[in-house]
């Protein structure tokens, strides 16, 4: 059974880098480049993991996460959040919104891969 990750990121180069990394790990990588209908896309795609950027056109990643968690079957979905703003307030807000892991750009590839593996392992165990 293939593992599916949904990457919501508006920066094409970053999208390409993450797609390259996760594809090699055996993930099926789907992408979405804006915040406007990101929640609908997640609900439709039913991924095993979501990687979510904070600053998205249309709707911020925080709002997307908050709306996503309102759906009962989405509460446990692992969400790895990436931000380039690097302000501590963002981390607090994300934790309140129900983030699973929060990472600041720029990240090392190993970090991303480790986080994805951990999150997936936790989700599979529970």
């Amino acid at each position: 059974m293939s593992r599916k990750v949904l990457l919501i990121e508006d920066e094409p180069n970053i999208t390409e880098a993450i797609r390259f990394l996760l594809t090699r790990e055996g993930w099926v990588v789907e992408t979405h480049a804006e915040g406007g209908n990101a929640v609908e896309t997640i609900l439709a795609a039913r991924p095993d993991l979501v990687i979510l950027d904070v600053m998205l056109p249309g709707k911020s990643g925080m709002d997307v996460l908050r709306e996503l968690r309102e759906h009962a079957d989405m509460k446990a979905l692992p969400v790895l959040m990436l931000t380039a703003r690097g302000q501590s307030r963002d981390r607090e807000m994300a934790e309140k919104a129900g983030v699973s892991r929060f990472m600041t750009k720029p990240f090392s590839n190993v970090e991303v891969l480790t986080a994805v593996r951990d999150l997936y392992a936790q989700a599979s165990r529970s």
Partner: protein
């Protein structure tokens, strides 16, 4: 007969009685008891000091000599009391409300507190008063001498007796007239003693009259027959003299210092005048009732040549009725003493207040500043004045030799003192009356009185007979007793006619010609409209109710606790049970001092005066209060201004703070965005460089592709940093403009080629070259930067199938305007206002810059003195760059 010695004893006893009564009355008044001391009856009786020994003895004498003429002396005051009651009420109200101490004070106060006027009136009063006092002393001596003749063995020695009488009266006046400093305070002791004396003299005269009618004549009918048979019974009236004397006595009744003292200064309640208006004429009627019978019987019984002035004594003596004679003597003694005491008091107040004190203060000021208690000085001045006035009367009596000249002194004094009348009445009823008018009028009247009546009447060669006969230096029209050729008149009538009419005329004319000072105007208004300004003063009752009022007022000013503490302490000091002390003068003084600390001296004085004094507030009080209020207003308006300033400052601070908060938030947001813009390319760079490092077997295509990404992102970072630095420099205004000259066309050419160099997509640029023939004088590089930005934006973002940018230049309203319009879908309406904000890449693809380009353009255009705006409704994205004409030159 031991009559003489008994008489002396009775006399002494009577004097002791007077002292006792005065002392007791003072004590009762001080203790706040004895309301009857302030009854209308006492007031009316005290008015009867109008009837001096001159009227007591002299009326009978006058009747014996000139028939009914004596009635005029009673007629004047009666007419005043009955028909001019309202005028007296005004006088009393004014006197009370202005806290007037004497008639001189009243005149001076009315005419702007002029001390010159006060001194004039004082001199006039002393000149008129001294002979009058001498007259009283003479009457006492004469009456003593009657008894001395009848009893040669007595201890009586004429000279010594007059001295001791004068000294005794001085002591009485000093003791009871100067107990308190405040001349405005009632002298209850003196007034009560005078009232008693009034009763005694009326009783004595009535007793002699009854004795004469029923004891000698044998009833009313035989008495009337006797009168009809006598010379006196004939109706023999000199109309001019009657009118003159009636008028004079009326005027004197109002103007005499002693009358003013009892009528105005000693008045406790205006309402007493109401009673006096009928009671005093009644008293006068009783006094005059038996005058004619006594005169007629005296003329019948006594040998020709006996002094008719002493009939009141000699008639009972001739009938062997020693006790009645003695009572009569006491009556005359009463008349004389009461007049002398009050006159001395009134004159001493005037002399000390208007002559002694000003002089003393002046000399003191020159030597050293006034310090300590002036009170003792004032009291001493008043006491010495009393003694001096008494001495003056005594010496006048000794020097004049007690001759017949004294008999006419009463009327002469009346005529002199009446000169005050125009200034007094004018001051009360005519606001136009001025100080100059009063001074001129008084001087004219006074001069004429001295020249036409006083000097010619004094005898002793003071004015030579030739002057009286032929006028000074032979000028007939200046003859003192026939001034301006007016002959055939009685000297008294002549003087009164000329002096008072010229006095009044001079007063009016000088008043009309002179201009009153502000204080005069104020005082004038206060006097003339006294009933509008003041409330009817009630008596000073000294009741606990007043203490309560004071307490309430004090609480309002000082606050409840301090006020109660103060009152409690005062009550303890007085030894009074309870919390409320008696409103004694000492307490009030301390209270005033306490209050003045809070509300100012004048206000405190006025407030306490309103509650306790019963006297209304004077103009000076009001002025002082107004002054204080003005200061308070000034102070409060300063406070208000300060408070407004503080409010303004606070608002500015709040605004500054809000602005700072806003700026701080903007800065946070800006930093967040800068961080985002820096980290995003770095993320790509790091990710792909790690991929290239860690991944084996990347294809050559992949390697090239990833390296290109790294390269592009590195360039993006550099651009961003360039833009940030550029913007920072522009925003801080540190930019140096590098002015140059070129045509618009040249600048646009350069910009187009730079912006489109290396572009993948082809953007078609349409220009209208003729309109670009404009010479520019500006920073060409900066302007070019703006153009490049706009052209590359169009190149990047124009979403049309065949992207086209139209550049056109116009002259609009004196400005060079360059429009950049593309054929894309443009900027959404809601984002148009945001396009010039930093990082506001609304709706744009982010392929290009960091979103600082338009913000930089806006800054540049501001520096160049122009502007850049978004032009809505042009189809595609449309920007307008405008430059002021000053930078534009004529077409090439």
């Amino acid at each position: 007969m031991a009559t003489m010695n008994i008489l002396i004893l009775v006399c002494l006893g009577y004097v002791v009685l007077l002292f006792g009564v005065a002392f007791a009355a003072d004590r009762m008044a001080a203790a706040g008891r004895g309301r009857w001391l302030r009854s209308p009856l006492i007031y009316t009786l005290s008015l009867s000091i109008y009837c001096t020994a001159w009227t007591f003895y002299g009326a009978v004498g006058s009747a014996a000599r000139s028939g009914l003429e004596f009635v005029t002396i009673y007629l004047g005051p009666t007419l005043v009391m009955i028909s001019w009651w309202w005028g007296l009420r005004k006088l009393v109200r004014v006197g009370r409300s202005q806290r007037v101490t004497s008639i001189a004070d009243l005149i001076s106060s009315r005419y702007g507190k002029s001390n010159t006027l006060a001194i004039c009136v004082t001199i006039l009063a002393v000149l008129g008063g001294t002979p009058y006092i001498a007259l009283q002393l003479q009457s006492i001596t004469l009456s003593f001498s009657i008894f001395a003749e009848a009893d040669p063995s007595g201890l009586y020695r004429e000279g010594a007796s007059v001295f001791w009488v004068a000294a005794g009266l001085a002591v009485f006046a000093i003791l009871f007239g100067t107990r308190n400093l405040d001349a405005n305070e009632r002298h209850h002791g003196v007034v009560t003693a005078i009232a008693l004396e009034s009763v005694v003299k009326l009783f004595a005269l009535l007793a002699v009259g009854i004795f004469v009618v029923w004891g000698i004549a044998g009833g009313v009918t035989p008495m009337m027959e006797r009168i009809d048979a006598s010379e006196i019974g004939r109706w023999n009236v000199d109309a001019g003299r009657w009118m003159t004397i009636t008028f004079l006595s009326a005027a004197a009744f109002v103007c005499l210092p002693r009358m003013f003292q009892v009528m105005v200064v000693e008045n406790d309640d205006e309402a007493h005048l109401r009673t006096a208006a009928w009671a005093f004429p009644l008293y006068l009627l009783l006094m005059s009732l038996f005058v004619v019978p006594i005169a007629v019987v005296g003329l019948d019984l006594l040998p020709a040549g006996s002094n008719p002035d002493l009939f009141v004594l000699t008639v009972p003596l001739s009938q062997g009725n020693d006790w009645l004679a003695m009572l009569s003597f006491i009556g005359g003694f009463s008349s004389a003493t009461s007049m002398v005491i009050v006159t001395a008091m009134a004159l001493s107040t005037m002399v000390s207040n208007h002559v002694v004190m000003p002089i003393w203060l002046n000399t003191r000021e020159r030597r050293s500043s006034i310090s300590g208690d002036v009170r003792n000085v004032v009291l001493m001045a008043r006491r010495i004045s009393i003694a001096a006035i008494m001495a003056l009367g005594f010496f006048y009596y000794r020097l004049s030799g007690g001759g017949a000249a004294l008999a006419s002194i009463g009327l002469v004094a009346f005529a002199g003192i009446s000169q005050i009348l125009p200034a007094l009445v004018g001051g009360l009823f005519w606001r136009g009356a001025t100080r100059t008018g009063a001074l001129v009028g008084l001087s004219v009247g006074f001069g004429l009185w001295v020249y036409t009546l006083l000097l010619p009447g004094m005898g002793g060669g003071i004015m030579s007979a030739s002057v009286i006969e032929n006028g000074p230096f032979g000028m007939g029209w200046l003859r003192p007793q026939a001034l301006f050729g007016l002959e055939g008149l009685d000297p008294m009538t002549h003087t009164v006619l000329w002096s008072l009419s010229l006095n009044a005329l001079a007063f009016c004319v000088a008043s009309l010609l002179s201009f009153p000072s502000p204080l005069e105007r104020l005082q004038g208004a206060q006097f003339v409209n006294v009933f509008d300004h003041s409330v009817a003063p009630g008596g000073w009752t000294g009741s606990v109710a007043q203490s309560e009022d004071l307490m309430i007022m004090t609480q309002r000013i000082l606050g409840a606790a301090p006020a109660q503490e103060f009152f409690q302490a005062e009550a303890e000091r007085q030894g009074v049970r309870g919390r409320l002390p008696e409103p004694t003068p000492g307490f009030l003084e301390r209270l005033e001092r306490e209050l003045s600390g809070s509300v100012g001296a004048a206000t405190a004085h006025a407030m306490i005066g309103q509650i306790v004094g019963g006297s209304s507030v004077s103009v000076e009080d009001l002025l002082a209060v107004a002054d204080e209020s003005a200061q308070l207003l000034e102070y409060s308006s300063q406070l208000e201004a300060k408070s407004a300033e503080l409010t303004r400052t606070a608002r500015k601070l709040r605004e500054a703070n809000e602005k700072l908060t806003q700026i701080s938030m903007q800065k946070d947001a800006f930093l967040g965005q800068v961080s985002h813009e820096l980290r995003t390319p770095m993320t790509s760079i790091r990710a792909f460089s790690e991929i290239m490092r860690d991944t084996d077997g990347l294809s050559a295509d992949e390697t090239r592709r990833y390296a290109t990404i790294i390269h592009d992102e590195a360039l993006r970072l550099t651009r961003l940093l360039d833009d940030l630095l550029d913007l920072s420099v522009l925003e801080n205004g540190q930019v140096n403009l590098n002015m140059g000259e070129a045509s618009l066309r040249t600048v646009l050419d350069r910009a187009v080629s730079t912006a489109l160099a290396g572009a993948e997509r082809r953007l078609k640029v349409r220009r209208s070259l003729p309109s670009e023939r404009v010479a520019l004088h500006t920073d060409l590089d900066r302007l070019g930067q703006v153009f490049i930005n706009l052209i590359s934006n169009a190149q990047k973002y124009c979403d049309a199938a065949e992207p086209t940018l139209t550049i056109s230049a116009h002259d609009v309203g004196g400005q060079l305007v360059i429009d950049f319009v593309d054929n894309g879908s443009g900027v959404p309406a809601d984002a148009q206002s945001m396009v010039f904000e930093k990082f506001a890449r609304v709706g744009f693809d982010k392929a290009g810059g960091a979103g600082l380009g338009l913000a930089i353009c806006r800054e540049i255009m501001q520096r160049l003195g122009g502007e850049i705006v978004y032009l809505p409704g042009q189809g595609g994205a449309a920007f307008r760059v405008s430059l002021p004409l000053a930078h534009r030159q004529a077409a090439q």
